[in-house]
């Protein structure tokens, strides 16, 4: 298992598949470049991204703000009315920063030079599934996002430890409030169930003991960072996953990662994320072995995975439903158009079921075919029109509303009226010769959008559509692009 794909089997299709999965897809030129590199260099080009400079700058508010904590302390003595006003201001500020943060990240995915790194950040975001709905701080959400970027392909124990001590996580799973007299079990449970082992690989007793050991991990709210509070820590003896002693949080993580199941769990999830389905038991064993042999470091493991024959075989190839983010970002990349303004990009991904920085629950997005319902499919088809033709997508106030009763929706609708969409430039993606030949248009679009031909009946329908126009203009070609995106085939990669 996991034998490297032979050089001679490397071609445009395998290169396209790699770029789709280890990134967000790309133009025919980009795919050809990877095809020319050969498999080793193509994989390296994507995953050794440290060599590629990334000039993205941080949002200017992305730093601790001591004045903010001070403001809140002062407000404790304020009148209820002043307090309310302050709260409202704070809410608006966070909303604005969150909007900026979404745009900042989406742009890194859609236009940035390191698509694989961003694809991993997206994986970790879905894996640790932390939501701003509870964290309520754009700075914390940004910090966590940066943590995922910094350790995107690093060591599992380090990432799991740092993710546990991350301010957003400390708030999200209540660890910040856990004290020895009343340990909060939320993080202790989810770190095993959802982050590292999976249900059935620990006992309820491990949860209560783990929660005791984790006490002391806390949040310094004034300085907006992790702090260890010795007085909150339970110094008694605990037995956790078979190890006994005065264990602390670091011991808990170390003990979790030391379980053989830990390697099985995370490698199965990564295989599913990149290959589109969970591995067989046998495959999972092979994946876990590679991961452990490489010291639980992700990068060497992923290199083996992306080089493996299995990754380029049925049923992996062209059998993964695009996530909403992949759909949007990938479309922008292959169509060489602008990412829609953040308000629209956010509205689209949210409508399609993937609200960045606000996953539905601690488990993250189920993904796969659950992305597709009658509702989301029609929305994808209609969003394709907006993206291609540069019109506003059908978004309503409800698509932006925050917490129940929140007023964000109405305001967003007003902002939406000022939004200008870019649309696709037909002359950029089709040569004059192609544009003059209806059959060439269909073939070129298939190669760009699907990297595989449509079914015969579908090709015929598209050709008939173009054929019905006596004088083909660019608007008709845009409609044809939109139609090709309005197929079941375009929803998979």
């Amino acid at each position: 298992m996991l034998k490297p794909l032979a050089e001679k089997n490397w071609n445009y299709s395998t290169a396209a598949h790699l770029l789709n999965r280890a990134g967000f897809g790309g133009t025919p030129v980009e795919i050809q470049k990877l095809a020319d590199l050969g498999p080793d260099k193509a994989v390296a080009f994507l995953i050794d991204y440290e060599k590629i400079p990334d000039a993205t700058t941080n949002p200017e508010w992305a730093k601790p703000d001591p004045a903010r904590a001070e403001k809140f302390r002062a407000a404790q003595n304020a009148s209820p009315e002043e307090k309310r006003k302050l709260q409202q201001e704070e809410q608006q500020l966070q909303r604005r920063h969150m909007m900026e943060l979404r745009g900042w990240w989406l742009a890194r995915m859609a236009k940035g030079p390191r698509p694989f790194q961003e694809k991993m950040v997206l994986f970790w975001h879905g894996h640790f599934a932390t939501s701003v709905e509870k964290v309520r701080s754009a700075y914390f959400m940004w910090r966590q996002n940066e943590l995922f970027r910094r350790l995107a392909t690093g060591n599992w124990q380090q990432l799991l430890t740092e993710a546990g001590k991350d301010p957003a996580m400390l708030v999200w799973l209540d660890q910040a409030q856990s004290r020895k007299d009343h340990p909060n079990e939320n993080f202790a449970r989810e770190v095993m169930e959802l982050f590292a082992l999976g249900e059935g690989h620990y006992t309820e007793k491990d949860i209560t003991e783990g929660a005791r050991a984790l006490t002391g991990w806390s949040l310094d709210r004034a300085n907006e960072k992790y702090v260890y509070r010795p007085r909150a820590h339970d110094d008694g003896e605990k037995t956790f996953l078979g190890r006994t002693g005065n264990l602390n949080g670091d011991d808990v993580i170390a003990q979790i990662v030391a379980q053989p199941q830990a390697a099985r769990f995370i490698t199965a999830k990564l295989w599913n994320y990149f290959a589109g389905q969970y591995p067989t038991d046998e495959m999972n064993t092979a994946l876990a072995a590679v991961f452990r042999a490489n010291g639980n470091n992700f990068k060497p493991f992923l290199r083996v995975m992306f080089r493996s024959e299995e990754f380029y075989r049925a049923p992996v190839v062209r059998n993964q439903v695009k996530s909403p983010v992949q759909w949007l970002v990938g479309s922008v990349r292959v169509l060489e158009c602008d990412l829609p303004p953040t308000l629209v990009s956010w509205g689209m991904t949210r409508q399609l079921g993937q609200d960045l920085f606000a996953p539905p629950n601690v488990k993250g997005w189920d993904g796969g075919v659950t992305w597709i319902t009658t509702n989301t499919l029609l929305t994808r088809y209609n969003d394709a029109q907006a993206l291609v033709e540069g019109t506003l997508p059908p978004l309503g106030a409800g698509d932006f509303a925050g917490k129940p009763g929140g007023a964000g929706g109405e305001k967003a609708m007003k902002m939406l009226q000022r939004v200008r969409m870019g649309g696709v430039d037909v002359e950029k993606i089709l040569t004059p010769e192609e544009r003059a030949d209806k059959a060439a248009i269909v073939a070129s679009l298939e190669r760009r959008l699907l990297q595989s031909p449509l079914k015969g009946e579908q090709e015929k329908a598209l050709r008939e559509f173009l054929g019905s126009k006596t004088k083909l203009n660019n608007a008709d070609i845009l409609t044809a692009i939109r139609l090709m995106m309005s197929t079941p085939e375009y929803q998979v990669t």
Binding site: E199, V316, K363, G368, I372, P404, G456, P488
Partner: protein, 441 residues
């Protein structure tokens, strides 16, 4: 044999073959047999004909996150209760008493109103053996109606559709939202999802575009099944992904595309014509029930509607959050009942709530509660046996299991009652075995 198959339209043909059987896309030769089998199946008396006019309707309302049952239906005179909850326990003044010992959280004025008018039953202490405290596993257990040590891939409503609604229109099950609940997962997937009827259509800049869209989305039959040797595996231990039933992702999407196409016109027509006759809260739940009311009023041939409300995972500062949610729940449900009464459809509708678990009897240090076990369910309708059903679970420390109350009623006895006495179908094929229907309706 092939000549015996007469279907009126190409679309109907495609839909039947596509949805008819998991085998249908593998070997074209099977198609004829499958269709014949389907036709005889439809002739079976177990298959329900859904007209949208007179059949009964179930509205399932999910309270996601694990609602704290003890602060919902409150044993406000119970000493154990107050001892376990010094901070968040509710006193006699903070409840709407039902019998001098038990009362609704005062945020549930809407429910109290329905209770007093004889439209609401409280099933006390509902749970299942060997309760699981994981949100996801416990939700899965409720959605699939499985025993807690068994992983089922299909949902209980999906199995109802498979067993009793074969050949029905895709709108037989309607989820308000963008995600299909696992309860709908089925061998022959049915059910549509929507939240905004105006946008529930393919928006086209001309009739040629629309025609092309239809052709592009009419699924070709018999695309060969991909090599399936790599599926399955550890999926059971990881996630509740929808099973693909051996087909490819494109096959699955094609079926959904066909359902979307077939339901879109009807849903929009109905929603545009129907009027709400009650005022709902502006919440997501309020809007969801508002839309359900319109679709019922307009006569969509639906047996099961599914709506949900999230946010019940109250580990910290529970009181404020739960008050807001219960207020919304009670007010939205009450508005929905008023709407149904104004439509003269109340006798056709039953609302059933559930949450994946209740919460620990003792409060935690953060003014919240951790994951627990049994909790009450609420059943709303004209024909329910209104009042408090079953027994309030004991809170005496010696009666608790790991700090949780023990269940008195298995939720599958409630499902059995809903299936047999409300949806009028045999419950054993749906629930895997015979559960005694609780006398509810």
């Amino acid at each position: 044999m092939k000549n015996e198959i007469t279907l009126q339209t190409r679309r109907e043909f495609l839909r039947t073959t596509v949805l008819g059987s998991a085998l249908s896309w593998t070997v074209p030769a099977f198609l004829a047999n499958t269709l014949t089998a389907l036709q005889s199946e439809a002739a079976d008396s177990g298959t329900q004909i859904v007209t949208g006019k007179d059949s009964t309707i179930l509205v399932v309302l999910q309270m996601a996150g694990g609602n704290d049952g003890l602060n919902t239906v409150v044993p406000f005179t119970n000493d154990f209760y107050h001892k376990a909850r010094p901070k968040i326990g509710l006193s006699a003044q903070q409840v709407l008493s039902l019998n001098g010992e038990i009362g609704f959280n005062s945020a549930l004025a809407g429910f109290k109103n329905l209770y007093d008018s004889g439209n609401l039953a409280v099933v006390q202490g509902v749970g299942y053996p060997n309760p699981n405290r994981s949100h996801f596993r416990s939700t899965e257990i409720w959605q699939t109606a499985s025993a807690s040590d068994r992983v089922e891939k299909y949902g209980w409503l999906g199995r109802y559709f498979d067993n009793a609604c074969s050949g029905a229109d895709p709108t037989v099950g309607v989820t308000i939202g963008s995600q299909l609940p696992q309860a709908f997962f089925a061998k022959q997937p049915k059910g549509i999802c929507l939240n905004n009827p105006q946008n529930y259509r393919f928006m086209a800049n001309g009739s040629a575009t629309e025609e092309s869209y239809k052709k592009l989305n009419e699924m070709e039959m018999a695309s060969p099944a991909p090599d399936d040797s790599n599926s399955g595996g550890t999926i059971g231990s990881l996630a509740a992904g929808m099973p693909m039933q051996g087909g490819s992702a494109v096959d699955f999407i094609s079926r959904t595309a066909l359902d979307a196409q077939m339901s879109s016109d009807k849903v929009r027509d109905i929603a545009a014509k129907a009027q709400n006759q009650a005022t709902y809260p502006g919440s997501q739940l309020g809007n969801s029930l508002k839309l359900v009311a319109k679709l019922i009023g307009g006569g969509l041939p639906t047996r099961v509607y599914y709506v949900s409300q999230g946010g019940y995972d109250t580990h910290t500062n529970q009181v404020n959050t739960q008050t807001r949610l219960l207020q919304d729940l009670g007010d939205s449900t009450k508005a929905f009942v008023e709407d149904m009464k104004a439509q003269a459809n109340m006798q056709r509708v039953l609302v059933m709530t559930f949450s994946e678990f209740g919460r620990r009897v003792s409060e935690n240090a953060n003014g919240g509660t951790d994951h627990g076990a049994a909790a009450p369910m609420f059943i709303v309708g004209n024909k329910v046996k209104a009042g408090l059903l079953g027994k309030y679970p004991s809170l005496a420390p010696e009666d608790l299991f790991q700090g949780d109350i023990k269940y008195n009623v298995d939720f599958r006895n409630v499902y059995a009652a809903v299936l047999e006495n409300w949806l009028k179908t045999k419950s054993a094929p749906v629930l895997g075995k015979q559960f005694e229907p609780l006398p509810l309706v």
